[in-house]
Amino acid sequence: MGRSTTSKDAQALFHSLHSAYASTPTNLKIIDLYVMFAVVTAVIQVVYMAIVGSFPFNSFLSGVLSCVGTAVLAVCLRIQVNKENKEFKDLPPERAFADFVLCNLVLHLVIMNFLG
């Protein structure tokens, strides 16, 4: 009884979340997808490291950090371009994107240097 209620509640919650998310603008969804992509890649690497050990550690670090860095930068971009975020109302999204590109380029340079 309780269980079905819970699952129903959960279904309801999920449904409401889904419908709420459906209203999110596409460009934010793209960012979310991008973040997901980075996080999954990072998780796979961590699993791999758990299996084979930490050698070569620098490669592992750069591999994971490139994912994490990408995800963090993408999240930053999402925060800045979200129109509901009043804090960044005055910041044009193009400017945010330029920052994002610049940061990514620097991140990848560091990653390449450290990849070994």
């Binding site: 997808l33 997901m36 999954v40 791999y48 299996i51 193009e94 340079l109 390449m112």
Partner: protein, 691 residues
Amino acid sequence: MTRNLGFLVVALVLVASLCEAKIFNPISDSHRSAALQLFSVSDGSFGSLEETYEALRTFEVLGIEKKADTRASTCATVVDTIGSPSSALKDLFQALRVNGILKCELNDEAFKGIMSRIKDAINDAHSLLDYYYSIGGLMLIKDQTSEVAVHLGDADRIFRSIKALSQGDGRWRFSSNNPESSTYAAGVALETLAGVVSLASSEIDHSLIATLKNDIVKLFDGIEKYDDGACYFDEKIIDAHMHQGSLSASSVVVHGLTAFVTAARGSLNLPGDKISGLAKFFLGIGVPGSAKDLYHQIVALACLENSRVSVPLILSLPATVLSVSRKDQLKVRVNTVLGSAAPPLSVKLVQIFSSGSKDASVIDQELKLDPESAVHVLETLPKNVDVGKYIFSFEILLHDPEHKKIYATGGRTTVPLYVTGVISVDHAEIAILDSDLGSVEIQKKLDLSGENAVALSANHLQKLRLSFQLTTPFGRTFKPHQAFLKLRHESGVEHIFVVGSSGKKFEIVLDFLGLVEKFFYLSGRYDIQLTVGDTVMENSFLQLLGYLELDLPDAPEKAARPPPQPVHPYSRYGPKAEITHIFRAPEKRPPRDLSFVFLGLVLLPFFGFVAGLFYLRANLRNLPKSTVPVTFAMLFHLGIAAVLLLYTFFWLKLDLFTTLKALGFLGMFLTFVGHRTLSHLASTSAKLKSA
């Protein structure tokens, strides 16, 4: 003074052995071979004329055939020296001496020529050596040629001027302005004076000769004496380079003395024991190692042998170690110093001293002469002579009473003798005793002439007893000098005990209770070793008897540690064990396939991302429509792609500097096109909003 004392002590150690008496052997073949070795010929001569003379004279005395190959070159030197008007007086003298032996062909003219030179030299002479060389030269000329008359007109004056150099104690000075007196000079002076006497045309004043004889007696009063009866003249001036030691001084004195006695034809009362003492001194040197010493020794002995003073006889024993078991006979040989036969005489064994005890047994037994070998033999040892150390005392009895004036026998000759024999070892046994009761736990008989291997065990409350008995062939108890019991622990620690004698028996009892401290509380296996030895024991032995398993209490904390055993020297050296470095193991690598699988897995989200874009129906509708912005947009993305491509190359092979340089250019380009593109987009969206 210390030097002389030092000399004395060493000479004593060297010449005299530890015994108070010593045997002197006459000159033998070893001297002859040594002479041939020492006087070596190089380039056809013996070296200088002086060395040549010494060599030739030594060979002459020892009866070695002169080597003909040196004669020609030596004679040439002699003729040169004598013929040359510039040669020194000393060289003339030496040349004449050599000529005296070699008999080179010299004409009388040469003799006459040098004679006048020598006579001039005598008148100018100041030092003793000047006189010696010139008088000696004249003597030699007189001996070598009968054609030239050699006489000294003013012999008395010369005699007096030489005599003026003599000192009160019988020694002489070399010259009047040299205050040091020397024994060597005394010998030289005596020989010179002998020359003066025999060259004198008229008789020398008798009183002069009498005072000289007095001087000789004084010189002999100052003679030094060793414990073994050897006498020598000490020389105060010792020069390391000239090496005028006691040997040369004594030799020269003997030479001068005999020359003087011959020349003066007078009798001289010198004690016979001093003459034979001198002979003993020269013989005691053995075989000298230097040519000069050999010459001095041989010449002095030759003078003694032919002297008119008295001829020493030397009593020698071929063997002083006599074995009872081999039935060795006591043999005595009597010779003159140079090893030639003695006149008819008999040898008497007078006394036997047993070493260690003061009392002497008087024997008075005459030795039997074996006429073939000229050896006096004592066929059987006296009854009371058992194995042991003895001192035998002999006397020489000359048969002809006339000979007593000619020969010096040196009184009694004492000789240390070792009579050795086989000692029988009996009643040897080893036992372990109980400490409290004294009862015998284990007892084992030992055969000390054979092999033994006993195995014993004891603890600290027990005792070890070892006993044996030693008897001489004559049935008397024998006490050896060395009777040691040695216990050696496995670790190398040794303990030595002297086995003492009680009555007839040798016995040692080791009470381990009192010895635990000394044994450092070391339990374990001890090897037992018995050493019995003595100088007169022919069957001295060192025997391993077996071993003893000792059980001692544990060491208390304060107990002394056993001394460290010396490290074996070979183990200290030698190569060390090799060392190789152990390298860090390489990291474990997973199988390649797994890596490839995960490479695929890692790339999957990328495809998921692309697929997700399609799912979200992402489009590129926002792309600018007009040509210029599109170009800029294209360039912008191409720029990003170029930067990423540059990163890939950086990863593959480029270094950081090249990369950063390229990145600088690309960055500037990118900033430019990025700005254009983004500002275009921004203006588009602003237009859209405002619209």
